[in-house]
C-alpha cells in the first residue's frame, strides 16, 4: 500500500545541515497497522509527514497504492491526500470557530459532494466514534478524549484507505488513550483501513501488527 525507498531528509540552514532521515525504506501492506517508535527528534514525525505527502523528501521515492507521488503538483497532491489519506494529530488541530459537525465535514468540502451528503457522512462518522450527541458543540466544550474522537471522525469521514496518526494518545490519560486506541484498532479490523501510528507508548505499539523503531533518522528495527 505504501512503499518508501531510500528516503532521505536533510534540513539546511545557512550554517548547519541536519540529516533527519537516512535512507529509510519501508513497505506497508494494505490493511496493516504499523507503529513507529523512537526517541524524540529521531525523525518519526518527519517520516510520517513524508508518508502523508505533507513534506517532500530530499531523496528517495514514495509510492502509495502503486502511484508515484514524486512529480505531483500542489493541486494533484491536495486531491491525492483528500481521497487516500486521513490524518490524526497529537494536538487534534480542530478549528475552534467551527462546530463539531462542521469540523468533521472539512475533508468533504474539497470533494464534489452536496451539503446534505456532507451532513449525513459527518454525522455517521461521529456516531462511529461515539459522539452522535455532540454535533452542535464547539471543540472547546469537549474533553481531550472527545476532541481526539472528533479528529478521528474527521480523518475517516472521507473513507480514506490510509490513516496516519501522529501520537494520537500523546495528550491523553491512559483511560482515554485506550479508548482512542480501541477505535483505531476497530477501524483497522472492521474497515480494513491501513494505519500508521507514531507513538511513545510501548503498550500501544504492541497492540499493532508491526513495530518500526528509528534512531537518529535510521531504521533500527
Amino acid at each position: 500500500m505504501i512503499r518508501l525507498q531510500n528516503i532521505e531528509k536533510v534540513y539546511r540552514t545557512d550554517t548547519i545541515e541536519t540529516l533527519a532521515l537516512n535512507s529509510v525504506s519501508l513497505d506497508i501492506a494494505k490493511g496493516e497497522f504499523l507503529s513507529i517508535m523512537g526517541p524524540s527528534g529521531c525523525g518519526k514525525s518527519t517520516l510520517l509527514n513524508i508518508m502523508g505527502l505533507l513534506d517532500a523528501p530530499s531523496k528517495g521515492e514514495i509510492r502509495i497504492d502503486d502511484q508515484k507521488t514524486g512529480g505531483m503538483n500542489d493541486k494533484q497532491l491536495a486531491q491525492f491526500r483528500n481521497k487516500k489519506l486521513g490524518f490524526i494529530f497529537q494536538s487534534y488541530h480542530l478549528i475552534n470557530d467551527l462546530q463539531v459537525l462542521d469540523n468533521v465535514e472539512l475533508p468533504l468540502l474539497y470533494r464534489d459532494t452536496t451539503a446534505k451528503q456532507r451532513r449525513e457522512l459527518a454525522a455517521e462518522a461521529l456516531e462511529k466514534v461515539g459522539l452522535a450527541n455532540r454535533l452542535k458543540h464547539f471543540p472547546t466544550q469537549l474533553s481531550g478524549g472527545q476532541r481526539q474522537r472528533v479528529a478521528i471522525a474527521r480523518a475517516i469521514v472521507g473513507r480514506p484507505e490510509i490513516i496516519l496518526a501522529d501520537e494520537p494518545t500523546g495528550n491523553l490519560d491512559s483511560a482515554m488513550g485506550n479508548e482512542i486506541m480501541e477505535i483505531l484498532l476497530s477501524l483497522n479490523r472492521n474497515d480494513g483501513t491501513t494505519i500508521v501510528m507514531v507513538t511513545h507508548d510501548e503498550n500501544m505499539a504492541h497492540k499493532t501488527h508491526r513495530l518500526v523503531r528509528l534512531f537518529d533518522g535510521a531504521q533500527v528495527q
Binding site: 509527514n49 502523508g52 505533507l54 513534506d55 500542489d74 493541486k75 491536495a78 486531491q79 491526500r81 483528500n82 481521497k83 486521513g86 490524518f87 494529530f89 488541530h93 480542530l94 478549528i95 470557530d97 467551527l98 462542521d102 465535514e105 472539512l106 475533508p107 468540502l109 474539497y110 470533494r111 451539503a115 474527521r154 472521507g158
Partner: protein, 407 residues
C-alpha cells in the same frame, strides 16, 4: 462550501473584536469621507439650479493682463463685458452680474450679514431662478435705475420673519432702501458665481459701472440657441479678445475665455496654471491617499489575522485544500468583511450628510446621497476587499503544511 466560509468569517470577526473594529472603522470611515466628498462635489458641480441651460451656456469670469514681469488677474468690468460681448452675434442673450459682496443690515437692532449682487435684466432670462413670489426686474426698471430688489427665501425669513408675502415691502442694504419685487429659492454659496441674498439692478450700484477699465467686479454668461452654439461662441469670443488692445504699456497680452461651467468654476485666473488640472489632481491625490491608507492597514491586519490561523491552514491543506482553494476562501472572508464595512459606511454617510445639512455649515447647501456614487463606493469596497486580501492570502497559501501545523 460558501456557507462554511461565511460561518468561519463571522467567527473570526467575533474572535478578535479590536482588529475587527479597526478594519471596519477603516473601511466605513473611508467610504463615509468619499460619500460626503462626492455629495459635496455633486452638489457644487452637478446641481444646475439656477443655471438650468448649462449645456448651451458659457461663462466669462476672469481677465488676465500680463507683461514680461507683471501680471494682473481679476473679474471683469461691466463696460468690458457689455462692450465686447455686445459685438458677438451668436449668443441669444448675455447675462451680466457682479460677484456677491457683503454688507450688514439691522432689523430690530439685530445685525444681519447680507450678500448682494448687481445684475442686468437679461440675467433673469438666461437663468432660471424659481420665484416663490413676485417677478424679476425688467429692462426699463434697470434703465431707470429703480431701487428694486429680488431677495432669497432665506433673506426673506431672516429680514421679515415668518410672513406670507413681502413683495412691496422695503429692505435696507448698504444704507439704501430697496423695494422687494420678487423672492427666489436659495442658491448655495458654493455656486459662488450665482449666489446672493439680494439681487439689484446694476444701474443702482454706487461704483462707476461706466468706467472703461478692463478689470472690475463682474462676470457674464453667454446663452446660445442650442448646445451646438458653444464652440461658435467660444471661437467668436477668442477672436474678439485677440483684437482687444492692452490697457497699459507694461502689459503685452490680454487673456479672457468663455468657458463651460466646470472650467470657469475652477478657473485660477492664471494662464499658466489650469484650474481644472489643479482641482482634478487635488481630488485624485486626496481620493488615492484616502483609499490607499485603509487598504494598507487592511493588508497588515489581514496578514496578522491569517498567520494566527496557521494551524487551520495546515489542517485544510492536509485534508485536501489546494493553495488556490485557500486563496479563494480568504478572499471570500475578506470580501464579507469589506462589504460589512461598506454597509456600515453607507449608514454612517447618511448620518454624516444629515448632520452636515442640519449644522448649516455652508449657506443654503443641502447635501444628499448620490446613489450612483453609493454603488461605486460599494464597488470600491469590493475592490478594497480583493486588494487587501490578495497578498495575505497568497502569502498564506505558500505556507508549508508542516510549518503551519507546528506554529
Amino acid at each position: 462550501m460558501l456557507k462554511n466560509y461565511f460561518k468561519i468569517a463571522i467567527a473570526v470577526l467575533k474572535r478578535r473584536k479590536f482588529f475587527t473594529f479597526i478594519s471596519l472603522f477603516g473601511i466605513s470611515f473611508t467610504l463615509t469621507i468619499l460619500m460626503v466628498l462626492t455629495a459635496f462635489i455633486n452638489k457644487v458641480i452637478g446641481d444646475n439650479y439656477p443655471d438650468k441651460k448649462r449645456d448651451r451656456s458659457l461663462y466669462i469670469n476672469r481677465i488676465q493682463e500680463s507683461g514680461d514681469n507683471n501680471m494682473m488677474s481679476s473679474t471683469l468690468s461691466y463696460y468690458f463685458l457689455s462692450h465686447y460681448t455686445g459685438m458677438m452675434k451668436t449668443p441669444a442673450k448675455v447675462a451680466i452680474s457682479s460677484m456677491f459682496k457683503g454688507t450688514n443690515t439691522y432689523v430690530n437692532n439685530k445685525k444681519i450679514a447680507v450678500n448682494f449682487k448687481y445684475t442686468n435684466a437679461e440675467y433673469w432670462d438666461v437663468l432660471d431662478y424659481d420665484f416663490t413670489e413676485g417677478k424679476p426686474f425688467n429692462k426699463q426698471q434697470v434703465t431707470n435705475a429703480d431701487r428694486v430688489a429680488i431677495i432669497s427665501e432665506d433673506m426673506k425669513r431672516q429680514y421679515f420673519g415668518d410672513v406670507t408675502t413681502v413683495v412691496g415691502k422695503y429692505i435696507e442694504a448698504d444704507n439704501v432702501d430697496y423695494r422687494v419685487i420678487g423672492v427666489v429659492k436659495n442658491v448655495p454659496v458654493t455656486n459662488y458665481m450665482l449666489y446672493s441674498d439680494i439681487y439689484l439692478p446694476y444701474t443702482v450700484s454706487k461704483e462707476d459701472y461706466k468706467s472703461k477699465g478692463y478689470l472690475g467686479a463682474y462676470m457674464a454668461i453667454l446663452l446660445g440657441n442650442s448646445p451646438g452654439d458653444i464652440p461658435k461662441m467660444q471661437a467668436e469670443y477668442e477672436s474678439i479678445i485677440s483684437r482687444v488692445p492692452v490697457e497699459r504699456k507694461e502689459f503685452k497680452h490680454v487673456y479672457s475665455h468663455a468657458n463651460t461651467f466646470f472650467r470657469s468654476y475652477v478657473d485660477t485666473g492664471n494662464e499658466k496654471q489650469s484650474g481644472v488640472f489643479i482641482v482634478v489632481t487635488a481630488i485624485s491625490i486626496f481620493v488615492f491617499i484616502f483609499t490607499l491608507l485603509p487598504t494598507l492597514n487592511l493588508v497588515n491586519i489581514n496578514i496578522t489575522r491569517i498567520m494566527e490561523r496557521s494551524s487551520e491552514i495546515g489542517v485544510r491543506k492536509a485534508f485536501g485544500a489546494s493553495s488556490k482553494t485557500l486563496v479563494y476562501q480568504f478572499l471570500v472572508e475578506n470580501l464579507i468583511l469589506t462589504m460589512l464595512g461598506g454597509v456600515i459606511g453607507t449608514v454612517l454617510s447618511i448620518f454624516a450628510l444629515y448632520a452636515i445639512n442640519n449644522a448649516n455649515l455652508i449657506d443654503n447647501l443641502e447635501l444628499s446621497i448620490n446613489f450612483t456614487v453609493l454603488f461605486i463606493g460599494l464597488l470600491v469596497c469590493l475592490v478594497f476587499g480583493l486588494l487587501s486580501g490578495v497578498y495575505p492570502a497568497w502569502r498564506m497559501s505558500k505556507l508549508n503544511v508542516v510549518t503551519a501545523l507546528k506554529a
